[in-house]
Amino acid sequence: MNSEGTSAAKIADSTICWSCGVPSGSGHFCEACGKIQPLARETNHFAFLGLPRKLTIDPEALERRFHQLSWKLHPDNFTRASECEREMALARSSQLNDAFRALRDPVSRVEYLLSSAGMRREGQHKQQAPPELLEEVFELNESLDELREGRPSDGGAARNSEETAAVRRKLEAARLNFEDRLGQVDGELERLFSKWDKTLAAGGVTPGAGDEQKKLMARMNETLNRRSYIRNLVASVQKELEEA
């Protein structure tokens, strides 16, 4: 079974209202008669929430927006509406929840931005260390091996507690180091976010902004891959430490 991500399409600017037959505007409800409108099959989360595709988002403002729209779109409002309106509300309120879930966390936000633009490429060699980390990863693996050897259950002779404690200290240090790296990557992402937001603001007027955006997306994609590699490292060290 194969599956692929979906690609984004812009919400239609204005369509004819199913209920009153007048152009309904591009909102959730008809501007003329106030009836809920059907959801275009592929609606971008940013557009749905009425936000520009900026990556720096004030979390509190986002949550307020989510709550505002929840009051209007939640199925509770439509229990007595017609079957087709109930379906529209279900589609819109699920999209609202999906959008909030995708955009509230910065990492899933940029992942969504990239995949909706067809620019998210998970590394082909997910297990391969980024070059600048090779040395440290090599050291880490050594310590992990030592720790495993020290475990009687693995057949190795039980070693004295001092040696084990030494390995543990090394691992703790490694974990701190990688957590630090993770922080650096997050900082990098943040810088890319503000660059992105600037090009977006310049978007319509600056020639070549499209290319600039593509380049930025590629860099964000690469940074995300590095991030997920380091995160996995931290998790596995954590796991080994807990088991030891």
């Binding site: 194969n2 509770d76 229990t79 699920s94 929840n97 999906d98 879930r101």
Partner: protein
């Protein structure tokens, strides 16, 4: 259109509640015995009639093979799932059970949704008696940690009971709704719900906005097979063991005694929530008596391992909400088992905060359901509940690995769209397997459903079918598919892994309607016959009194011959109608007899006769 109610369909007790518009607050509706708690026990008589509630509970002792309790444990589960419970619960699973369990009760076999529908029908009748109006729409609560199959089974039960289920609401969330209304709380709330059969923990955020209050669930976790039942079973296992050792008696062959013993132990458990000691005195089949005294400390030592199992889910829920115990502003206790003092101590110690238990823990869930029912019914918009799905939704991919498409604790409704294509040339179908759970492998998750997408034959990888998975506000999955090449919506026939198909439910509904019709007919015939008998008796009595008074059988001035003949003919016609099953015919003949005796009645002084002949009701004579 009838009334809308809120129902707590519990493992041990069920309740029905409504929003009292005049008082502006919810209330539980009492049954005929005046109690608001309806034991979730169902018993089936030899003649097929169904007994529910307190009456059924007393039959646990007299007719255990016809009676079932804790059926909620079987909802939405397969035979393989319940094997371990069968050792503890006296469920008689029918050998014919497959992906839906079938339970034997006396001569008949029922699915868990059918048995639950009997409980719902009973509650519905309580409410209809209370309102003197039909009740046809309901909000029903479910444990927050119920999976899709368990939710669907609950919804099916509602449908089988003749209720339109407007929404399933999670029990802890319903409780929070009731508390919020009661206490006007704000902030972060943990609801610890430990009932008869299930444990739930939900972490909520209460937010005031310009439009009103939002109850947003941040995370939920639990165990759908952990509750007071397990404490009871622990006590029961211990007592049976002691009886085996001390009395040399195996209770295996004495199911009635086991039920008596269970009842006594539960009473002792309840007592220990208030007293330091409790005792059990149990006459045994061999004439001896099992005597046992418990101290609270001993009880606590015995059940501590079971109660400890609630703390894992609590920690998981907090972690998923991104919070620590200290971040919680209020803790709310729900469910009868939170009366156990040790539970309160554990919760208080963990959160370092005295938990709330001001509202009756038995009623609070039903009260919350009634509030939600009112929100849905009247559209009063000053409260909004945003709940989450408790388990991740995934689809099986290559190698039996699960790809998660909707993570657990996503606000519902939630959806995910996935694109599918063919793997080999001229493939005409793509099989999809939907699962729920947190594990990596399909084999370790809960299978929800399978279906096949149809694709026109063509080269591999050319087809494009988009499938939309949507979890609705009740936490139930809907699937729709669209062929992107042809832009055609495709209907998907989802085969539930552990549930009734639509066709099966339709069939059950038809059967129950047929049964109801048959029952109705039988009752009408019986009532018509009883009425006819009474009229015949009264007529004959009058005739003989008249005959005695006039000194001869016929031709008296009070009773002319042709009138007498008309009456005799009507009597004969009625008797022959009474031999048959046609109650409308019986009624018609009763009317004719009444008419034939009318002139007679006018002349009659006899009070009994005149009252009988003027067509008074049997009960008035």
């Amino acid at each position: 259109m009838g009334r809308t109610v809120g129902i707590d369909l519990g493992t041990t007790y069920s309740l029905i509640a409504y929003l009292d518009q005049a008082a502006g607050r919810p209330g539980c509706i009492p049954g005929p015995l005046g109690d608001t708690l309806c034991p979730s026990v169902v018993s089936v008589d030899a003649d097929g009639s169904i007994v529910v509630g307190e009456a059924a509970r007393s039959r646990l002792l007299t007719q255990p093979a016809r009676t079932i309790y804790s059926v909620k444990r079987l909802m939405g589960r397969g035979v393989a799932d319940v094997q371990s419970e069968l050792k503890i619960f006296p469920f008689r699973i029918d050998a014919g059970s497959q992906n839906v369990i079938r339970v034997r009760l006396g001569e008949k076999v029922f699915t868990p949704p059918e048995i639950s529908s009997f409980i719902l029908k009973e509650l519905k009748s309580w409410a209809e008696r209370f309102f003197r109006e039909s009740v046809d729409r309901a909000v029903i609560t479910v444990p927050a940690y119920f999976n899709d199959a368990q939710r669907q089974a609950t919804k099916d039960a509602g449908r089988l009971a003749g209720l339109e289920v407007l929404r399933l609401v999670n029990e802890p969330t319903a409780a929070a709704l009731a508390y919020g209304l009661h206490e006007q709380r704000r902030g972060r709330v943990a609801v610890y719900d430990f009932g008869g059969g299930t444990f739930d923990i939900s972490i909520l955020k209460l937010i005031s906005t310009g439009e009103g209050d939002i109850y947003q669930v941040l995370a939920t976790n639990g165990d759908t097979h952990l509750g007071g039942d397990d404490l009871d079973n622990q006590l029961l296992a211990m007592a049976r063991n002691e009886i085996r050792i001390r009395h040399g008696l195996d209770l295996e062959q004495h199911p009635e005694t086991v039920q008596e013993l269970r009842k006594a132990l539960i009473a002792a458990k309840h007592e220990l929530s208030f007293a330091e000691r409790a005792a059990v005195l149990m006459p045994l089949p061999d004439g001896s008596t099992y005597v046992r005294e418990f101290s609270r400390a001993e009880f606590e030592g015995m059940v501590q391992p079971i109660l400890d199992r609630t703390m894992g889910p609590v920690q998981m829920a907090l972690a998923d909400a991104g919070l620590k115990a200290a971040d919680i502003d209020e803790v709310v206790l729900v469910g009868g088992s939170t009366r156990v003092p040790l539970v309160r101590r554990m919760v208080e110690q963990f959160f370092r905060r005295r938990p709330h238990a001001e509202l009756n823990p038995d009623e609070v869930v039903a009260l919350g359901a009634a509030i939600q029912a009112d929100i849905l019914e009247s559209g009063v918009k000053n409260m909004l509940l945003l709940d989450v799905t408790p388990l991740s939704l995934g689809i099986e991919t290559m190698g039996g690995v699960v790809a998660k498409i909707i993570p657990r604790n996503s606000t519902i409704p939630a959806s995910a769209q996935e694109m599918f294509t063919t793997g080999v040339d001229n493939q005409t179908g793509i099989d999809i397997h939907v699962l729920q759970g947190e594990r990596e492998l399909a084999a370790d998750c809960r299978s929800l459903a399978r279906f096949q997408l149809r694709v026109p034959p063509g080269p591999a990888g050319l087809a494009r079918v988009e499938v939309k998975f949507l979890i609705d506000a009740s936490g139930i999955l809907q699937v729709s598919a669209r062929d992107l090449k042809s832009s055609q919506e495709q209907s998907v026939e989802v085969q539930p892994s552990y549930g009734l198909t639509d066709a099966e439910i339709e069939h059950m509904l038809e059967e129950s309607i047929e049964n109801a019709e048959r029952d109705f007919n039988v009752r009408q015939v019986i009532e018509a016959r009883v009425e006819a008998e009474a009229i015949l008796r009264a007529t004959e009595k009058s005739l003989s009194e008249l005959a005695a008074a006039s000194g001869g059988p016929a031709g008296s001035p009070e009773l002319p011959a042709e009138e007498r003949h008309a009456v005799d003919a009507a009597i004969t016609a009625l008797r022959s109608a009474m031999a048959g099953d046609d109650y409308t015919l019986i009624r018609a003949r009763v009317d004719e007899l009444n008419k034939a005796t009318m002139p007679l009645a006018e002349r009659m002084m006899n009070r009994v006769l005149s009252s009988a002949l003027s067509g008074k009701r049997v009960s008035d004579i």
